[in-house]
Every structure is written in C-alpha cells, then in structure tokens.
C-alpha cells in the first residue's frame, strides 16, 4: 500500500487532538497502521461489506481465465487445457454473425441513448409542471408500474396487443381492414425493442430527475422571472443547468453497460423476427457459445465486452472533466 503524496482533505486526516503540536510534526502524516487504528471502528464496520464485495464481485473475475482455456465443466477451471487466444478467433477474424451481432448492438445502443435516455428528463419536466398534487401522484404511479413487470410479461403484453392475432389486428380484421405486422417484422424490430424499453422504464427513471428538480432553488426562477425570462428561457437557463450534473453522471454510467442491450427482452423475441435482425452480443454468446457448451468462447466475447465497457466509462468520464463536470469520480 502506497501513501499518496498529497494530503487528502476531510475525514481521513487525523483529528488535531487540540494539542499544540509543532508545525513540522503536523505536516508529517502518521504511519498507515496508526491511522488505521484510529479509524478501527469504521474499518470494522466496512469489513463485512468489503468481504462480500471481494467474495461475490471480485473473486469470480478470476473465472475469466476460461477465456483462454478449453473449459470443460467435468475438469473444472484449473484442469481444463490452455488454448491461448483461440477463443478470441471469432472477434479477430470477424465472423460475419459476430459482426452482425455487433452492428445490431451498436444500433440499438444508439437508439437507446438518443431516444430512451432523454425521455425521462422530458417526462420529469412534464410531471413537475403538473400543479395538482393528486393528479401528479396518479400519473407517477401509472408511469412507475411497468417497471415492476418482468420482460417475459412485457413481451407477452406487446404480443397480445400488437401480435398478428392480437387485439389490434383482430380488431382490424373484424373491420375488414388490412393488418399491421408489428411483432414479427424484422425492419421494425429495433424500434419495437426501443419502445418497449421506453414503456417499461421511462417512468421509473424520472424519480432521480424529479428529486433533482425539487432541489433547484425557487429563487432562481423568481430572479429569472424578474429579469423577464419566459418559460422556455427559465427551462434553458435555470432548470437544465440544475440537472446537468445528474444527466452527465447517468449518461456515463449508461455508457458503461452500453453493450448490454437487454438479453431477456431480445432472446424472447428472436424467433419472431430472426437472428439477422435481432442478434446482439449477449444473445450471440448464448446462441453460439452457451448452447454449444463452448464456455471459453463465451467468456472471451464477454471479456472483450467488459473491457470495452470500462474504456467507455473512463473515456466519457475524462470528457466530463474536460467540460468541467464532476463525472462519476473526481480527479
């Protein structure tokens, strides 16, 4: 453990004890074990959490070693033979199905960042502008509800409503009108999954933004109004700047798992539209590695995905710092 050269401010610095210590002694920090002993209660309190984190989040990382092995469950991780980088061949050689999955993933990610991410902000602003508390509560409850449904249910509801034998098309048929193919139309698939995410989670995601909105000082609005700012100028110059820190933080976190675009949701709808339109990295791993019991290859693709996710988070964070935002951690 290395001791940082800068003296951090805040809790970690030892209490002054009120003794008139000479200035040189104060600038020299006590050794780490002394500081640890001083904070022993806090350290002890943190231990179980740290242990759980190490045991269940960091230790399993070692299992990633099977990305370089021909892993066989009967042999276990240690005894499975090493195969070097063979498991990464699909990525390096550009297996067409892998590239297709990658393209689908990126497209769905782009749609989600462009459409799904801003939606709760707009929704929160709308909710915030409601004056009647009762109406607001009611609207919030209705919007939160879909978040608690599992994907199986959400997909089933969409199929019941928009399926070719579903409510909408049955009604159209009864009227003698042409039917609309929504759920088994490969061209519409990416928009379909995006709208499902929107329906399920946009309401739930407003919670954070509503909290941030409540925190904005009302005097700022009053001052803006006095200066002659209308609703739009207030939104632009007061509300959005007040939300900016949170928006940047959430966007960075979102980028971290940007390549995970919903395994369950997509595998459930794969048969309806085919792999060409629907396969993403997660389902690619399932279809080509898990089904084929080729665990090593699955781990390899997963590992690459994880590394890309970390790079995206770090990159986005750096960018946030450039723009003077705090990001997810401070420099």
């Amino acid at each position: 453990m290395t001791v940082p050269t800068q003296t951090p401010v805040g809790r970690t610095s030892p209490p002054p004890h009120g003794s008139p210590a000479p200035p040189p002694a104060a600038s020299r920090r006590p050794p780490w074990w002394r500081r640890l002993a001083a904070d022993r209660v806090l350290v002890l309190a943190a231990l179980p959490g740290v242990a759980a984190l190490l045991l269940f989040h960091y230790l399993p990382w070692l299992g990633n070693v099977i990305a370089f092995k021909d892993y066989q469950p009967y042999l276990g991780i240690l005894d499975s033979p090493w195969v070097g980088l063979a498991n990464f061949a699909v990525i390096v050689d550009g297996d067409p199905q892998f590239l297709n999955a990658l393209a689908n993933t990126l497209l769905i990610t782009a749609l989600q960042v462009l459409i799904v991410f801003p939606a709760p902000i707009a929704l929160a602003l709308l909710l915030d502008s409601l004056i009647s508390e009762r109406l607001k509560r009611l609207a919030q409850s209705i919007l939160y509800l879909p978040h608690f449904l599992s994907w199986v249910i959400v997909v089933a509801i969409f199929q019941q409503m928009f399926g070719n034998a579903g409510l909408l098309n049955s009604a159209l048929r009864a009227q003698g009108l042409a039917t609309i193919d929504v759920i088994s139309n490969p061209e519409l698939f990416k928009l379909l999954v995006t709208s499902q995410v929107l329906w399920k989670d946009a309401g739930w995601a407003t919670i954070l933004f509503l909290a941030a909105l409540a925190r904005i000082d009302l005097e700022l609005y009053e001052a803006a109004a006095v200066d002659g700012a209308g609703r739009w100028r207030q939104l632009w110059h007061v509300t959005l700047p007040g939300l900016r820190g949170l928006i940047v933080l959430l966007l960075i976190l979102r980028l971290g798992d940007t390549l995970s675009v919903g395994f369950e949701q997509i595998i459930l709808q794969e048969p309806a539209v085919g792999r060409q339109a629907s396969e993403v990295l997660d389902t690619y791993v399932f279809n080509h590695a898990v089904l084929a019991a080729d665990w090593g290859q699955g781990a390899a693709v997963g590992l690459v995905k994880g590394v890309l996710g970390v790079l995206l988070v770090l990159g986005a964070n750096k960018l946030a710092h450039r723009f003077g935002e705090r990001g997810i951690y401070q420099r």
Binding site: Y74, A165, L268, A272, G274, N287
Partner: protein, 549 residues
C-alpha cells in the same frame, strides 16, 4: 467453426477422466464393483451387456391390453380398492438425496408440503430433493458436476431453455468416473430382487447402457410418441374432413377450418411442418441405407415438405403468431385458435383438465396420410425412455438401499403406491370421480416433486375420469404402432451428438423458421445443411455409422 480440434481434445479428455476414475476406485476397492471403470464406451462392449431379465409383473388387468411392439396397456378406471404392493416401507431411515427436474412450478419445500412429508414416511427415509425447472437443468447440472458434490440419484440435464435437447459432453467418461456401474446388482436375473425394476422393458434398459455396463435407471415411455391432436368437436361443427386421405385433401381441410376473422387457423407453422414431413416420408431423424446414414434435413423429402408448408403459410392457414417465443400453443388449441396441435400422447389428460370449451370438448388423433394418397404414412416412434438416472458411486450396502427405494418408486399402475406417487392422499390431494382421481389444488402444487423422473413404472394409457378418451387414445396408438418408424440411432451413443445436439438442432430450427416466415428464400436450406454438416453433423454421422456398421 466453434470446434477447433475436436479429436485431440476428446482423446485428451477421456484419458484424463479414466485416470481420475482409476485413482478414485483403485485403492479403496469398492465392494460389488469388480470393474475398474476403465471399460471404454464402444458398441462392442455395450452389446455384451446382459440387460436385466424382463419379468412382467402381473398386476391390475388392463381393460385394453398392450403388446410387445410398444402398445401400452389402457385402463378405463383405477382399481378400487387399489392393492398395496409393499407391506413395509422400503427405506432404512437416513438421508437419500436426488437431483431431479420438474416441468411444473417448483413445489413448496418439505416443511410446508404435506405430500413430501407423507412420502418420507412411506419411504422411511429423509428425501433431500434438489428440484430444478426443466429449462434451468443444463446450467444447474453443469454446476452440480463442476462442484462435484453429487447426490445419490442424479438426473442428467435434458433440455435447454429453448426446449431443444441438451447434450451432455463426455457423459460416458463422467459416468465411469463418478457413477455406479449397476450391472452386478441388476444384470440378468439379479434384477429379480427388485421385482418392479424387473417389470421395466428391455428397450428402456438399453438406453442406460454405457461403458459396457448398466449406468442408470430408466424412466420408460411408450414409443407411440407424438401425435397430431385434432379438435374433433370443432371438426364436426365446421363439417371438415377429419381424416384427409392425401396431401391435397389435407390442404382442403386447412382451408375449410381457417377463418381469420374468427381467430381460427388450421395449426401453427411448426405443427404443419411436423405433419407434412410425415406425409412426404421424411425419416425419423436419420435414414439408414446400406450402412450409410442420411439426416432428415439432408433429404429431398424435407425440402419438399418445406416448400409445401411455405405455400400453406402463404395461403394463410398457419397461425400468424406461430413464431413467437414460448408460443402458448396448447392454449391456442384449447381455445380453438388452432384445431390441430402435435403433442405427446401423455398430454391427452392435460387437454381435458384444461378444457375451456365446455362439455362438448372432444379431441382425437389425426393420422398422416401418404402424400399422394393410398393409405397412411408411418409415424415417428419416440425414444423408449424419457430420461435415465445415474447413481453416485457408493458401497454395496448403500446401492442396495437405493435400489430398494427405486423399486418402490417403480411400483406399477394399479397399486396404491402408484396412485399415491402421482396423485397424493385421497381427500387431500385428489378425490375419486368417474373411476379416476381428480386432483385438488393442493394436489397440483404439492405433488410435482419430480420423483417420477428418478425411475418410473412402464407407462399406461389412463385419462382419469374419462373412459371414452382413454379408449380413443388406445385405439389411436394401436392403429399407428405397427407402421411406426424407429430412429436407427436410438440406443447408440455419439459423443459429438451429446455435446452438439442443441447447437445442431438450433442451426436447422433457425433456418427453418427463417424460410417459413419468408425472411430467407427456400434455397437457403442448402446453407443450413452446409452449416449443420460443418458444425458437427458430419462428425455425429461418422460416430453413429461406426457403431451401426
């Protein structure tokens, strides 16, 4: 593609595993286990195995008798009072553990499950069950094997979450290393010590033979297999021909029953594909001709079926939501959204139990006609077992105790034990009506312990409380069994097949769905076959051919 160097790996693996086997069994010299476990899993070794002597148990007399060809006994009602087969519980106390699957929702745990408590009492053991939903089996099984903390009874994985068969890589090597060779206890006349295990037909036992020994207990099933269920009440109402005599007539039937404005279609795309394949004569998975195997997907007949079904889909006879995942096909059939639905014969009672059409509900089986007419086409036989169960290696005393329990679990139809195993306690889990047990809600939730997948008595045709349907089911089986077609590879083991089965089936399924939904042209089937062959199909063929030669 996915497999870089299959042959060296396999050699390496089996080598490593048999060393482990020798290390495990060598020094301790298990009683009753004279074999070191090093016998390779070859057709020659397996052919030498003396199967348990089949000794039918003279129990309840069937109303409609079965036969040796695989026709099952049928019973109009359950014997009342049912005779008790065991005077005393088979167990000697202590704990018995099992890893089993269930197709029903996982039942309550033992402390909240009166059925389980009663089962423990009647067995006189503390039954520790790890009950796994069918879809989670492959993952849980892999974890179980990797963890190496094996229970006494182990049901190997069966299905992937997508419903396709799950292979188990290196199964024979694992069986040899970790599981008990039961031959000394069951081979030949030795099985007579367990009369209800002796009551299981030889075809089922053959499925448990690996490494030149008997490595498991079978859960036997009738070879009658899957049939095309038909809504007879709707056919009568729509005045449709229930027994088309050719493909052309079948098309007319599809046309007659389809009415999208009433949300009614002939069947799902998959169901049509299943049925038309029979008409054109696609083999049951493989065709064996002069020592050469041809897979169903490679035949001209399959392409013809594909082209015909594509036309049926285009004509609008298939349910338009056929391709959605987890399509509720049984519900559609029961609700009359489809009038034909292929399912296993064992589903017959379930359709009546879940009937929503009222007392007029009536179902039957439609036999596939030959494509150009002139009689019926042969149907595909299913495998004579549902699954088998391996026993963890143990000393002779323990194995004998476990087999005594298995013997109880295999008590045949007609006994009190069978009735209890399936339906629970009268008055609590079921009530008798029309000569058959009708389950209560407690019965439905508590009895699905999955013990029927440890070992089972030979199956019987019995639709509780519905003698007419029982009769119909029996007559259908009787009509199809003489001409039914066997999969020539049943009873043989291919390591590549066991490992790649799910992946190979997925390739074909994906292409089939893509073509039938118009996303890919018919000609794409060439790619499917190519991908299938390169993905392991040729390897599987070779391994089976070597054994069949």
């Amino acid at each position: 593609m996915l497999e870089q160097h299959p042959v060296p790996r396999r050699t390496l693996l089996s080598g490593a595993l048999s060393t482990a086997a020798l290390a495990a069994t060598g020094p301790s010299l298990l009683a009753g286990c004279t074999d070191s476990g090093g016998t390779p899993n070859t057709a020659v070794n397996n052919a030498d195995v003396k199967l348990p002597t089949y000794t039918p148990y003279a129990g309840a007399k069937p109303d409609f008798p079965g036969n040796a060809e695989g026709l099952l006994d049928a019973f109009s009602g359950y014997p009342n009072p049912a005779p008790q087969a065991f005077p005393a519980p088979p167990g000697k106390g202590g704990q018995v553990s099992a890893f089993v699957l269930t197709g029903a929702p996982v039942p309550p745990s033992v402390d909240q499950n009166p059925f389980w408590q009663e089962l423990n009492k009647r067995l006189n053991v503390d039954l520790k069950l790890t009950i796994t939903p069918g879809g989670d089996m492959p993952v849980k099984f892999a974890a179980l094997v990797a963890g190496d903390d094996l229970p006494d009874f182990i049901v190997p994985a069966l299905f992937t979450p997508s419903g396709l068969g799950a292979g188990i890589a290196n199964l024979p090597a694992w069986l040899s290393a970790k599981c008990q060779d039961l031959s000394p206890y069951l081979s030949g006349d030795a099985v007579k010590e367990y009369p209800f295990l002796a009551n299981i037909p030889s075809a089922a036992w053959k499925q448990c033979v690996y490494n030149g020994g008997i490595y498991g207990l079978p859960v036997p099933r009738g070879v009658g297999g899957t049939l095309m269920f038909r809504r007879d009440d709707l056919f009568a109402q729509l005045k449709a021909n229930p027994d088309p005599a050719s493909y052309a007539e079948f098309r007319d039937v599809c046309k007659a029953v389809t009415d999208p404005r009433a949300s009614r279609w002939a069947a799902t795309t998959g169901a049509l594909m299943y049925f038309v394949q029979h008409m054109v004569g696609v083999p049951n998975r493989w065709r064996l001709d002069g020592g050469k195997l041809t897979h169903a997907a490679e035949t001209e007949q399959f392409r013809k079926a594909l082209a015909d079904v594509l036309q049926l889909v285009k004509d609008g006879y298939a349910h338009p939501d056929s391709n959605i995942a987890n399509a509720p096909v049984k519900k559609w059939f029961n609700a009359g959204n489809t009038v034909l639905n292929p399912d296993r014969y064992t589903a017959w009672p379930q359709y009546y139990a879940e009937n929503v059409a009222g007392p007029g509900f009536d179902i039957g089986g439609m036999r596939p006609p030959r494509y150009d007419g002139g009689g019926f086409a042969g149907t595909w036989q299913s495998e004579p077992t549902n699954n088998f169960t391996a026993l963890k290696k143990a000393d002779a005393g323990k194995i004998k105790d476990l087999l005594a329990i298995a013997n109880w679990l295999a008590a045949p139809f007609g006994t009190q034990e069978w009735l209890f195993r399936r339906f629970g306690v009268e008055g609590v889990h079921y009530t008798m009506s029309n000569g058959g047990p009708a389950q209560t809600q407690a019965g439905i939730t508590e009895t699905a312990l999955g013990i029927r997948y440890i070992v089972d008595a030979p199956d019987a045709i019995f639709i509780p409380g519905n003698a007419a349907a029982t009769r119909k089911s029996y007559e259908y089986q009787k009509s199809i069994i003489p001409t039914s077609v066997k999969d020539p590879t049943v009873g043989y083991f291919s390591d590549a097949w066991s490992r790649k089965r799910a992946a190979l089936d997925t390739i074909l399924n994906t292409y089939q769905t893509d073509i039938l939904s118009g996303r890919k042209p018919l000609s794409a089937w060439d790619d499917a076959v190519k991908e299938w062959r390169q993905g392991g199909g040729d390897e599987v063929r070779g391994q089976f051919q070597d054994q069949l030669a």
